[in-house]
Symmetry: C2
Subunit: 402 residues, 2 copies
């Protein structure tokens, strides 16, 4: 084991254990991420009107832009029950006691089934053990403890330089159903040792989330518990980022890289998925249209089914562009498919062109497929990520609770 | 055979044949509906920005609110190709010649694959034969000729009385994928012998479509070729409906009954569906919220998958209500399930209640299931219709073109 994910930056520890919220003892269900120093912190949350109870607690605790630890359980969303806020508050209190820090510096999140009461007992019985076992090697275990139907862990890290100082950044995330972020339809926690003010962090998190997690769709369903939280503890000793200048741009690019990697990993591991789909829109009249079009294509059940069947049925792509609600000229659209196996044009100027079906099938058969949409009418671009719609999606969701 | 569907009202003839657009000779692909007298006519069309070529021709022909015949092919949507309008225009011309009426009195529609050129030859070779074979028994054949992945024909008719005169109304429709009307994600043609002005007909068609076809979702994909057309030839000899009074209300109710029946039939025969789902929203703060909530629930992939698995996972219903975008109080929501096998409450005041899982499963196992949402905060209601999401939906759409 080594320092990966959320433990890659200086001064961060993490771990994940099975505490007993889940019956299956081989599945971890409690995650803790901790910074040695108090951090600038910012979150974005689901836009769903029905919100998980932990979101209310986290919002209140982040009002001052500061946090030091993140406690997360899986197996129960702590949403739509009678005592959700009380339990989320207890989670923060128990964690604060175990870590000997202030309750208001704790971020709380939950993921799992909606509408059942979350029993605090297993958390109460195991929080000290979890706190005592925090480690710089703990990112993988932390990530395992937030998984639900995810089949692989999602973790990424990297570094960047600000005024000669090496800064580090890393994150973890979970998907993989109810994924149509707005904000974030998922949980993701990103840490950095960069020094940045809470105000600037809040700004950059929103900007990056809009172009990464908010451009993913697995099934069009926006969850009640989505949350992306970013903690920056300043231990890289760079000159503090206090305004939108060059250093802000460098950090934004680093945060974008991590967030995009995690967003794509989430799309690729979407429930039942056999492949990662990317929709790249270029030469759109404006950014809003580009994003609307990219998201409409990636969310279409018919496009997703066609991709599962390796069927170059581009008419469905034009159809999804057509109902995106965006403003554009619908007569100048080119569509191509691209993957490791090559690139093929299937539609020019909104009309079909002859193409080799066998070559198209071969391109679509790969594990990562790009749908390229050239609007030919401006210079705005956008990217969205999703996955195919498969038998297994139906199977997983036909009986999720058992 | 007898007078059913579009042939139920006086003075309407119809038929459907295999002309050769489809390779499979056992599948009809050309439909003709004809009124002996010129009709008041009104249509509503897809809101998709990418529109089928026939829609442009039909819109132009209906500018004067009059029509006498409807020509429809299946097997090719005549959309996103270079000569679509030309071909749609030729379809009108050939039909007009065969029937010896004006080209401008023809409604043209197409359904099938997008992006391939539609060869006019089979239509040219068979239009006279189709015209010559028109019959008062032809509604079923007409309906068969507009089917794509539909597994059953959708046909309905009834009668109503205006000032002592019996009036008749009947219609046909096809689904069954790319169904998320806005307007209509499908084709439906309704005839009546009522006497009504074009202006009043146009008004009532829009009002009824909004509460029926526009409340159906099979897969969230709004087609490029949706069209509902209503023809009224006045042969019932009722005093002409010229304003929004009592007689307008009687006809509206009759049209609503037919449209609702066809809309539900479409939902029930949604691609791969094993059951019809109805979402009834009551006591919502306003009509817009009620409709938004009903449509969000019925369109949710996660709700649809749960219904396939007979899983009373009501948290997904709350979640879909939450992202509907409507304005309401999210803390007072009750949810129950109802079917032939009984009724069960699963959520009260937005929180879970204890319920018998076995009983719930038994209720959800039926072929027609109602999701009842009581918002407890006003008096607006709405209904939406859809179907479960199944392995077969994925199978059908994984390789539609072959």
């Amino acid at each position: 084991m080594s320092q990966t994910g959320v433990c890659y930056p200086k001064g961060f520890l993490a771990n994940g254990i099975h505490c007993g919220i889940r019956k299956n003892k081989s599945k971890k269900d409690l995650c803790l991420i901790y910074s040695e120093k108090l951090c600038a912190a910012a979150s974005v949350y689901t836009q769903n009107k029905v919100k998980g109870a932990p979101i209310a607690i986290t919002k209140a605790h982040l009002a001052n832009g500061l946090a030091q630890a993140i406690i997360v359980n899986s197996g129960n969303a702590n949403t739509c029950n009678s005592n959700g806020k009380e339990i989320a508050n207890q989670m923060a209190e128990l964690t604060a006691d175990a870590l000997a820090i202030a309750k208001e510096d704790i971020i709380v999140a939950s993921t799992g089934v909606i509408g059942q009461k979350l029993d605090i007992t297993p958390i109460k019985n195991h929080i000290q053990e979890l706190s005592d076992s925090l480690s710089v090697d703990g990112s993988v275990a932390a990530c395992e403890a937030i998984m639900t139907t995810d089949t692989v862990i999602k973790e990424f890290h990297g570094s960047f330089v600000i005024d000669g100082k090496e800064c580090r950044i890393g994150g973890i995330a979970k998907g993989s159903g109810m994924i149509h972020p707005n904000m974030a339809t998922m949980l993701s926690f990103i840490t950095s040792d960069v020094d940045i003010t809470s105000e600037m962090l809040s700004l950059v998190v929103k900007e990056v989330a809009d172009d990464t997690f908010n451009m993913v769709s697995v099934d069009g369903d926006t969850s009640t518990n989505d949350m992306l939280s970013v903690l920056c503890n300043g231990q890289a000793d760079n000159p503090q980022i206090r305004e939108k200048g060059n250093n802000y741009a460098i950090f934004k690019e680093a945060l974008y890289r991590v967030a995009k990697h995690l967003a794509k990993a989430m799309a690729k591991d979407g429930e039942g998925a056999t492949k990662l789909l990317t929709c790249k829109v270029v030469n759109a009249p404006d950014k809003e249209a580009a994003k609307g079009i990219a998201k409409s294509v990636i969310a279409s059940s018919l496009v997703k089914s066609a991709m599962f069947g390796n069927d170059a049925n581009w008419g469905r792509i034009l159809c999804a562009i057509g109902y995106s609600g965006a403003n554009y000229d619908e007569t100048t659209i080119d569509v191509s498919f691209q993957s490791e196996a090559g690139k093929i044009a299937v539609c020019k100027q909104s009309e079909g062109v002859d193409f080799d079906e066998e070559q198209a099938t071969n391109i679509l058969k790969q594990e990562e497929v790009e749908i390229l949409v050239d609007m030919n009418q401006g210079d705005a671009t956008a990217e969205s990520w999703g996955c195919d719609l498969t038998y297994d999606y139906v199977k997983i969701n036909g009986d999720y609770r058992t």
